[in-house]
């Protein structure tokens, strides 16, 4: 590799690095392609090659349900939660990004908390949130008893849930990505446009609506995609911070030990296709929004 006579445009070791890169891409996508192919396994086929014919058998099996697990309901829960997390992530990240452009008291602390949340082992966050909501449950039950609210006492189960603890857990994972993207966007943002708008008499809101937002819109869509896809696949932070119901990836994790037929590959193919669909739509939206800008 240490060839001193390399051509000016081709860096040394080009062939070696190209090989590494190609092998890496095969390493990334090869296994995924395998389970995609195997999900079309014939009715008699097993978890490994060879393919015993090609069929949609295992997709039908999946639709009938896997054992006691209601896949359809889990899929719907994850989808809706993903959309909620996505919208929260977009709005909160943009607002916080704007705040950081001004003089923000405690900005440094907030930034460090953000980074800490990003690199904090997820099991710790999950345990903490689970603990918090269980303590909240105890406190609530005590209150109901104290005030003799027997009706509440009978019906109350737990405050852990999809849109309380799980939503919070997801946001601690998606928001840091959102804010860091906004930082990257605003670091490259030319304030001359805003100043021009304000010099021409635009209010702050008008400046934001007509100048700033159209410029950052493609990145905001990107933030939304991070929000959805990270939530759609999240396991570690959700695991201890969700009550009786499960999200799709949690069900999937459970199924890895119990399901021993290609139906699990079919489920894998479907969730991967949802992810690819979201990524594809995002890229399309970014392209369209960027085009409009020029």
């Amino acid at each position: 590799m240490a060839n001193q006579n390399f051509e000016p445009k081709r860096p040394a070791g080009y062939v070696g690095l190209l090989t590494v890169f190609v092998l890496f891409v095969i390493f990334l996508y090869g296994p995924m392609a395998t389970i995609f192919i195997l999900s079309f396994q014939g009715p008699d086929g097993g978890l490994t090659f060879p393919l015993q014919g090609v069929s949609l058998h295992w997709f039908y099996k999946l639709a009938e349900g896997l054992g006691v697990v209601d896949i359809g309901a889990a899929l719907k829960r994850s989808l809706v939660l993903g959309l909620v997390v996505m919208s929260f992530t977009m709005v909160m990240s943009v607002l916080a990004g704007l705040a950081f452009r001004k003089k923000l008291r405690g900005g440094n602390a907030l930034f460090y908390v953000t980074v800490a949340s990003l690199i904090m082992p997820s099991i710790i966050v999950s345990l903490g949130i689970g603990l918090q909501f269980r303590l909240l449950d105890s406190a609530l039950k005590w209150c109901f008893e104290y005030f003799a609210m027997t009706g509440m006492l009978d019906t109350f189960g737990t405050s852990l849930g999809l849109y309380s603890s799980a939503l919070g857990a997801h946001l601690t994972w998606t928001l840091p990505f959102g804010l860091l993207i906004m930082f990257a966007v605003f670091n490259r943002f030319n304030p001359a446009y805003e100043e021009a708008a304000q010099d021409l008499g635009a209010t702050h809101w008008q400046t934001f609506k007509h100048v700033v937002f159209p410029l950052i819109a493609p990145s905001v869509v990107g933030v939304g995609m991070f929000g959805f896809t990270l939530s759609w696949d999240e396991i570690a932070r959700t695991s201890q911070a969700i009550g009786d119901v499960n999200t799709l990836p949690l069900e999937l994790q459970g199924l890895t030990t119990t399901v021993t037929n290609p139906a699990i590959y079919a489920l894998g193919s479907i969730t991967t296709m949802v992810s690819f669909l979201v990524i594809g739509l995002t890229m399309l939206a970014v392209k369209l929004l960027s085009k409009r800008r020029t």
Binding site: K103, P121, I123, I124, G128, L131, Q240, Q253
Partner: protein
């Protein structure tokens, strides 16, 4: 909220303060990050029985975690806690080393060997897309390849290299490390690539013009200037692997111990004070590693 601002602004240009804009964001981290961490610390000093947690102040949980750790047992082994930390740290280091070499090579290829920006963007996206797909799916996608009757074993037996299918390919430390590398090399590539794209190309030309060999340029110019990316990537990979329980669980066939897994199991048995004490210890270990790594960079300048 926006409509309210709108009507207010049409009357007089009112600027909402930075503090209010950051409030929703800050509240999320206060409610779902800082308070839970405080509660973990608090509960780690509590007692518990089969039914409930008992508020008090005791070091019981910590003591029971390190019980017997001061001496070796009759088999010459140390206690479960130290052994688990030992194996988790060992896996972290192996994964860190492989992802660093691989991630650096891929980032180097993208940054210096691809000529057009369009091609660069395309290949970069190609490397990052799997990050947005499900981790569990990416783990189980190794089963048809590495399993007892998987593609690798079929080929090995077919070529006559081995008589019996190789057993250690799946549900072993090997498959755990492989899955980590598969899942998290991206966390190395992105920051290192970002650092490399900021390197002034004329510095490399200058090194070459002055007679530096490719290795000398790499060692004395490119690696020092990519330091930030390398450190950020290392922090990501090490903290993820240190706290992991999902990958080790699925790819280790639920047989390999890890610190994250201990916490998860204790939580599922509702032994919250024990789980909390373990979490505090894990956090301290991770913080020490990060502290060692971050003294060298300011992350914010790098975005």
């Amino acid at each position: 909220m926006t409509t309210q601002q709108n009507t207010q602004n049409s009357v007089a240009p009112l600027r909402i303060s930075a503090g209010w804009q950051a409030t929703p964001y800050s509240m999320v981290f206060l409610l779902f990050f800082l308070i839970p961490l405080g509660l973990i610390l608090m509960v780690s000093f509590w007692e518990f029985n089969e039914y409930e947690m008992i508020p008090t102040f005791t070091w019981h949980s910590y003591i029971s975690i390190f019980e017997g750790c001061t001496q070796l047992n009759e088999y010459g082994d140390t206690c479960v806690t130290l052994k688990t930390y030992g194996s988790t740290i060992r896996i972290s280091l192996i994964v860190w080393f492989i992802t660093l070499i691989l991630g650096f090579s891929v980032a180097y290829f993208l940054a210096f060997c691809v000529r057009t920006t369009a091609m660069q963007t395309m290949l970069f996206v190609l490397c990052t897309v799997p990050f947005w797909t499900s981790n569990v799916i990416r783990m189980i996608s190794w089963i048809p390849l590495l399993g007892r009757n998987g593609l690798v074993n079929q080929s090995l037996v077919g070529m006559g290299l081995v008589d019996q299918p190789v057993e250690w390919l799946l549900f072993s430390e090997f498959s755990v490390v492989l899955a980590f590398v598969h899942l998290y090399t991206m966390f190395m590539i992105v920051p290192i690539f970002n650092s490399m794209m900021r390197i002034d190309r004329s510095l490399i030309e200058a090194a070459t013009d002055n007679g530096a060999t490719a290795w000398q340029t790499l060692w004395n110019v490119i690696i020092p200037l990519s330091r930030t990316g390398i450190i950020i990537g290392s922090i990501f990979v090490i903290t993820i692997v240190m706290g992991d329980f999902v990958t080790i669980g699925v790819m280790g066939g639920q047989q390999i111990a890890s610190v994250g897994k201990i916490i998860q199991v204790q939580t599922s048995f509702l032994q919250f004070p024990l789980a909390a004490a373990n979490a505090v210890i894990l956090l301290l270990v991770v913080l020490m590693i990060i502290w060692g790594l971050t003294r060298l960079v300011d992350i914010r300048k790098e975005l």
